[in-house]
């Protein structure tokens, strides 16, 4: 069992937890993820590591309440424990040779983008962060991003806070103004990452994206997390759990990845409603 040491609500649908897992805390690097099960017979879900405290032996996770499992997890309190917590999985984000970076985060993807921005900041790179949300009440981690970014731009889709519009608008402006990023790192919904790639393409800026497909074991066994890369005119199957989760944005088949992500959409919506009703009636 793995104890929840601290819990904090970042917004009504996003929660941060620090979990006692000393071995994972010692090893996890930005870009890597963990897999957890809330309780016996529960589902295995992957969540990206949002930070670690190796001394305390804790790992920070940030999750959006989107389905049955995250709903159950959100009902666990400080001092309670979850059944399983394993990691770190996947490869860490590549930082070598990157002196000037633009981090683009969308929605809860900002939770994954934050430790990456912090790592580049720690390594002395110049960090520009663009973070976008649907509206003001979904905003998370603004202070954290401000602390590790040389420049921070906050966007909301509905204009309820900061600048109105989506994340590609300021990105395009900067690229047109002649900003030369060694790398743009986009982390968020598939559609956002797809458009970040499209925005960068005319400028020839390399783009890394962080993929979060459906996963089960996360250790390179089941193959459920496969995605297709277009490499030199060939379609190549890769596995996000061991080959990723970071990939070259220009190679990823986003349409296929987004379609695969919706495989259990109906099932998940139903399961989430069931759990919500359970707590409503309790």
């Amino acid at each position: 069992m793995y104890k929840i040491v601290r819990k904090r609500e970042l917004n009504p649908t996003v929660t941060q937890m620090e979990i006692e897992a000393p071995l994972v805390a010692k090893k996890a690097k930005p870009g890597q993820f963990i897999i957890l099960r809330v309780d016996e017979d529960g589902e295995r879900i992957p969540l990206t590591v949002a930070g670690t405290d190796p001394e305390e032996g804790t790992v920070k996770i940030i999750f959006q309440i989107v389905g049955a499992t995250t709903e159950l997890l959100n009902h666990k309190n400080e001092g309670e424990s979850i059944q399983d917590f394993v990691g770190p999985l996947g490869k860490a984000t590549e930082t070598d040779g990157i002196k000037k970076v633009c981090i683009v985060g969308g929605g809860v993807g900002c939770a994954i983008a934050m430790p990456v921005a912090q790592e580049f900041h720690r390594l002395g790179a110049e960090v520009t962060s663009i973070i976008g949300f649907r509206s003001k009440d979904l905003l998370i981690l603004e202070d954290e991003f401000r602390a590790c970014s040389d420049k921070l731009i906050v966007m909301t889709d509905d204009g309820s806070y900061a600048r109105h519009g989506n994340v590609t608008v300021p990105l395009k402006e900067m690229l047109e103004a002649g900003e030369k990023f060694d790398m743009v790192i986009a982390i968020g919904p598939g559609i956002m990452m797809k458009f970040v790639v499209a925005t960068c393409k005319p400028f020839g800026v390399p783009v890394t994206v962080s993929m979060n497909p459906i996963m089960i074991d996360g250790t390179g066994m089941c193959g459920g997390c496969r995605l297709t890369l277009n490499q030199d005119g060939k379609r190549v199957t890769k596995f996000a759990c061991v080959d990723g989760p970071d990939f070259n944005g220009y190679e990823v088949d986003f349409d296929e990845a987004m379609s695969r992500g919706r495989m259990y959409f109906d099932y998940e919506r139903h399961a989430h409603e069931e759990v919500c009703n359970l707590y409503k009636n309790a």
């Binding site: 099960r37 394993v86 990691g87 074991d217 066994m221 199957t237 596995f239 061991v242």
Partner: protein, 469 residues
């Protein structure tokens, strides 16, 4: 007394009943049947069965005890060489091993060695009152990577010799392929759990949720005081055919399909982990894993299940009993068929149609057998113009796996072959001192018993290595 030319039938659930439940198919011999079957053993002098067994169980000796009705004594004889008798009695391909070389098989059907082994192990598990005792410690620590058949065997053999053994398992439950891969109806999870408990009684420590190569490295295991490491990390990433449509929704690797159903219990009525149930399912491949996937799909409510295999019945690599059971249950074998494309739904007028991207069919080409290939089997050749489509809603690819890459990529000096399998010598030793390996991590997808054999060889080598230290 004349010898019955046929082995005693294994009682089973009726096909039409079992096709709709996940309870075990084979029900096991009664005491009377077991004794009668044991009496078919000639107790011949040259004992070919023993060398036919990858772990060299003293077969005529245990059968002699069954004849006498001393089932506990029979169990103790098996237990000398096998740590997982209740498992092997169920999943070994006996017809290619001990029973293949049985003297009786020259004239009649072989003695039902596997069925007797299962009977003895089940009898012990139902009747034994004394727990296994941990022997006195010899002070040496050994780490085992993976709790599948090779790891559990290696752990058991070393624990019996007094080693302090820790088994590190990446998943949340011990058992490896025995729990994520082989379905309940062929190997109940309670039997695996029982075998794991027996190992714990012997003093074996099992740490779940630890991925060697990620959470800890092999070098760190040595720093922690382990003097030898056995790598039994098992099968890795599933193979696909690289045909169009393999990323459509409804296409599974067998590993994913079986893991969802078995380990994650998606077969339950109200599962936490989803799986596609019902519809029409094509399983591509002809091994045990393909049979398991096909029969699982049937039990999950599929109205039609096909096995699509590119060679003929003769080359089908699955265990004979599983093929027979699958046929009885109504699985439709499309032999000498090879998939060329998986077809999906696409509404050109509505890109948001929720049906878009789901499997609707599989296009196959008919095959004929040509000249023998490198494996000695006749090579299947496509018949031009023979393509046709099967309507299906899901496709399961059961065409093998390649070894797990995590350990290789984080362990310096560990040599692997071109397919990614860890290279070992005849003692199970890798290119790193003190590091041994066996099972699918070395061979690629193979059988439970061959993995157990490898675990056994490694345990013997580790014992020799450390007792010389």
């Amino acid at each position: 007394m004349a010898i019955d030319p046929k082995k005693h039938e294994m009682p089973t659930q009726a096909p039409e009943v079992r096709a709709h439940n996940f309870s075990e198919v084979a029900l096991g011999y009664s005491q009377e049947t077991a004794v009668a079957e044991a009496n078919r053993c000639l107790n011949c002098k040259n004992r070919p069965c023993v060398s036919g067994c990858p772990v060299n169980i003293h077969i005529p000796e245990f059968i002699a005890k069954v004849k006498e009705g001393d089932f506990e004594a029979a169990y103790q004889i098996i237990n000398q060489t096998s740590s997982l008798p209740a498992v092997c009695g169920r999943v070994c391909p006996q017809e290619n091993q001990c029973e293949k070389v049985c003297t009786l098989a020259k004239k009649f059907e072989a003695v039902g060695i596997g069925r007797l082994e299962r009977f003895v192990a089940d009898w012990h598990n139902a009747h034994a009152t004394e727990k296994a005792q941990a022997p006195a410690s010899n002070g040496h620590k050994v780490a085992i990577v993976g709790s599948g058949p090779s790891g559990l065997t290696c752990a058991g053999d070393l624990a019996k010799k007094g080693y302090k053994v820790s088994v590190f398992e990446a998943l949340h439950t011990a058992g490896g392929v025995l729990v994520y891969g082989i379905p309940e109806f062929r190997l109940p999870k309670s039997i695996v759990a029982k075998e794991v408990e027996t190992l714990k009684d012997l003093g074996v420590d099992i740490e779940t949720n630890v991925i060697i190569g990620k959470t800890l490295t092999i070098d760190e295991l040595f720093e922690m005081g382990y003097e030898a490491v056995f790598v039994g990390s098992g099968a890795g990433l599933p193979n696909f055919m690289n045909i169009p449509g393999e990323s459509l929704k409804g296409v599974y690797s067998a590993n994913e399909f079986l893991t969802r159903s078995n380990l994650m219990k998606a077969y339950l009525d109200d599962p936490k982990t989803p799986i596609m149930k019902g519809g029409k399912v094509a399983v591509v491949g002809g091994g045990n894993v393909a049979m398991d996937a096909a029969r699982t799909a049937l039990r999950l409510g599929a109205e039609k299940v096909y096995i699509v295999y590119r060679r003929s019945m003769e080359e089908l690599p699955a265990r004979k009993e599983e093929v027979e059971h699958a046929i009885e249950e109504g699985i439709d074998f499309r032999l000498l068929h090879n998939p060329v494309e998986i077809l999906g739904y696409n509404n050109p007028d509505d890109p948001r149609d929720p049906k878009n991207g789901f499997v609707t069919g599989i296009r196959c080409v008919k095959m004929e057998l040509g000249e023998p290939d490198a494996s000695g089997r006749r090579r299947p050749v496509a018949i031009p113009g023979s393509e046709f489509e099967l309507d299906v809603t899901a496709v399961v690819m059961a065409i093998g796996t390649s070894p797990n890459p995590l350990i290789k990529s984080t362990t310096k000096g560990l040599e692997v072959n071109s397919r990614g399998g860890i290279i070992v010598n005849e003692d199970g030793l890798t290119s790193r001192e003190g590091v041994y390996a066996g099972g699918d991590a070395v061979t690629g997808a193979a059988t439970v018993i061959s993995a157990m054999g490898a675990g056994k060889v490694a345990a013997k080598s580790i014992d020799e290595y450390l007792s010389g230290k």
